[in-house]
């Protein structure tokens, strides 16, 4: 009997090839859609963490309150000992200090007179220390357009667009005018050694990247830092792990009474990223949900159609003395088989294509030209554990449900009525 049914399934393309194809296509699309959604989300988290938030970030709570104003007078002091204990207590993270600053960039001519001037946003990061991962983290080598990376104190990078706007050539002197941590005016000369472009619009409009120790010197904050960032050594942000680390750290180091004690925030605690992630999650959920409903409707319909097509067969099998329940069961088994096969093929192909776009990605810089979101210009898919079942189970369930419903349609009718339809 089982052989008999399998033979029928294989020979009848309307029962096998067609539904398997429909299920596969639906599952491929669902899997891909989900992978791209999580790829985009991952990308956003990734670039935000690299350039701004870290996976976790330590600031004084006073600095945190006014973070947008880059209040370096409220920055952390004696970061050397703090970094040492961080490295010891949380070895799963890579720790690094940064100073964000704002000021004016002055370009003098041969006589020392101002040739051009522009406001600048800057990042003091650990570029020269051999053990630092900042160069890779900020992707500086790839971002380099002209010149080279800083190799000795006093050298800086500017975003390429910005340098062109100021008509600045390589090895030209630039002067940073800013405010020291003590509130006085700070003036420091640098040499432009290279220009960069990150492909992140927010960073490409007017940024300066300098070595941390130069900025410490310029802003008179020896051993100080606006923030200390922590990056999970696995390279991936884990909400759970970051939350635990922050709770543990704050329990030991943070004193709510003392506005200058260090406070650790996770990526989600910063810049509304948590809400954004939640929003994106629920958007993803909704989009995939709508898609699933559409796919289920198609599969349901396909199931109904094939059920109606099989009225004749069902009538004959009933007349031969096969019990209704048995026929119903075999119809369901068939659809489970179809569902598993289609979902398996669909998931495999979906994952394969997804994997390709995870590795290669495609360029969407055209549509992001004016965006200030910290998102890279290459859209990538991301295969996660969920990608393996987000299409599979709906594919299987929709197929089975379609058959179950069409089966009920058949059996709600009087047996004799099925034969009326046989006769016409």
């Amino acid at each position: 009997m089982i052989k008999f049914l399998l033979v029928g399934l294989l020979r009848d393309r309307h029962r096998s090839l067609f539904p398997v194809t429909v299920v596969s296509l639906g599952v491929i699309l669902t899997t891909l859609l989900y992978s791209f959604m999580s790829g985009m989300m991952n990308d956003l988290i990734d670039s935000t963490s690299r350039f701004d938030s870290g996976h976790v970030k330590i600031m004084t709570s006073a600095y945190h309150e006014l973070e947008n104003q880059l209040p370096n007078d409220l920055a952390l002091t004696s970061t050397g000992s703090l970094l040492a204990s961080l490295k010891k207590s949380y070895p799963g993270y890579d720790w690094t200090a940064r100073i964000k600053f704002a000021g004016l960039l002055d370009v003098p001519d041969e006589n020392g007179e101002t040739k051009s001037q522009s406001p600048v946003f800057g990042l003091g990061v650990d570029l020269l220390d051999k053990s630092s991962h900042e160069v890779e983290r900020l992707n500086l080598r790839k971002a380099l357009i002209r010149g080279r990376l800083p190799e000795k104190p006093g050298e800086v990078l500017l975003s390429d667009k910005f340098a062109r706007k100021l008509a600045l050539g390589l090895n030209h002197k630039v002067t940073l005018v800013s405010t020291s941590s003590g509130g006085a005016m700070a003036v420091q000369n640098f040499i432009l050694c290279g220009t960069v472009e990150f492909g992140i619009t927010a960073m490409d409009n007017g940024a300066m990247i300098a070595d941390l120790s130069d900025i410490r010197f310029a802003l008179e904050m020896p051993d100080g830092a606006g923030e200390i960032l922590g990056f999970n050594k696995s390279k991936f942000y884990s909400s759970e792990n970051a939350g635990k680390t922050a709770a543990d750290f704050n329990g030991k180091f943070f004193n709510p009474q003392d506005k200058f004690s260090p406070l650790m925030l996770t990526l989600e605690d910063q810049n509304g990223m948590g809400e954004y992630i939640q929003y994106a999650d629920s958007m993803g959920f909704i989009i995939v949900g709508i898609f699933l409903i559409a796919m289920s409707a198609v599969l349901l319909n396909a199931g109904l159609m094939s059920g109606i097509r099989r009225y004749g067969e069902v009538g004959v099998r009933l007349a031969m003395g096969e019990p209704k329940g048995h026929i119903y069961k075999t119809l369901i088994y068939e659809s489970v088989l179809i569902g598993i096969l289609g979902s398996f093929i669909g998931t495999s192909i979906g994952l394969l294509i997804g994997y390709y776009f995870q590795q290669v990605g495609f360029d969407i810089s055209g549509s992001l030209r004016n965006s200030s979101i910290m998102m890279s210009n290459v859209l990538r898919a991301r295969i996660s554990l969920t990608s393996f079942y987000i299409g599979f189970f709906p594919g299987l369930i929709a197929t089975t449900l379609g058959t179950a419903l069409s089966g009920i349609q058949i059996f709600k009718r009087q047996t004799a009525q099925l034969f009326k339809e046989l006769e016409t």
């Binding site: 033979v7 020979r11 009933l318 007349a319 031969m320 003395g321 096969e322 019990p323 034969f419 006769e423």
Partner: protein
């Protein structure tokens, strides 16, 4: 050769509800059939032939009265018991053949035996014998769409006969066949009736069929108006 009574219908009423109204398709039908009969329910279109045949075949329930088939009251059978009765004792032949299109002739005829859980060897013997009766052993591997109408109906006869049922119910079996094929099929069924003592009940208004019948039960507007034993 007439044997024991195997079908007894008593006070049978069948109402079809059509919205608020209902339509009486069978109105107090009483009849009995003995084993080995070659009987036809005849009458004009709409007289209730198919309805009566379906009730006897446990495919439909009467509104009132009872129909006892092989000692079983079809009205009180569960769905599964009805299926068992059809499986073990009844063979059906339809106007439109109703072969399963994806299966070969052999597999179509084999199907009732699969339901009866016969062994492979038993199945093989029975299928080949049934195909021999209808003269289609050469077409065993063909698909239904490669057969003529006459051949298709012969396969349907083989499928109904393969399990050697006590009763074969045939609803307008010749309606889609030409004269030559009709006679061919009827001769075959008559032969099986005589050799195997299988009871045949037809629903028909085809004169060609009526000419072969040994008994004619005439229906009109849901009532039996005549019951004639022939030759």
């Amino acid at each position: 050769m007439k044997g024991s009574e195997i079908i007894k219908v008593h006070g049978l009423i069948k109402d079809y509800s059509m919205g608020k109204q209902s339509f009486r398709a069978l109105n107090d039908v009483n009849m009995s059939v003995c084993s080995g009969e070659f009987t036809g329910l005849v009458g004009p279109s709409g007289s209730g032939k198919t309805t009566l045949l379906n009730i006897i075949g446990a495919l439909d329930n009467p509104t009132e009265g009872d129909a006892v088939v092989l000692g079983k009251d079809v009205n009180s059978l569960s769905q599964a018991e009805g299926a068992l009765l059809r499986n073990e004792s009844l063979g059906f032949i339809f106007q439109t053949y109703n072969l399963l299109p994806v299966y070969t002739v052999y597999e179509n005829v084999e199907f009732p035996l699969l339901l009866l859980k016969k062994s492979k060897q038993e199945r093989n013997e029975a299928v080949m014998k049934a195909l021999e009766w209808v003269g289609l052993t050469a077409k065993a591997k063909s698909k239904p769409n490669q057969l003529s109408g006459g051949e298709s109906q012969r396969v349907a006869v083989a499928r109904a006969m393969v399990k050697l049922p006590k009763i074969v119910l045939a609803d307008e079996p010749t309606a889609n066949l030409d004269a030559a094929n009709s006679h061919n099929i009827l001769k075959m069924m008559l032969k099986l009736n005589e050799e195997l003592n299988t009871t045949f009940i037809f629903a028909t208004h085809d004169e060609k069929v009526i000419a072969y019948l040994k008994r004619k039960v005439v229906l009109s507007d849901g009532k039996i108006i005549d019951d004639i034993t022939l030759n």
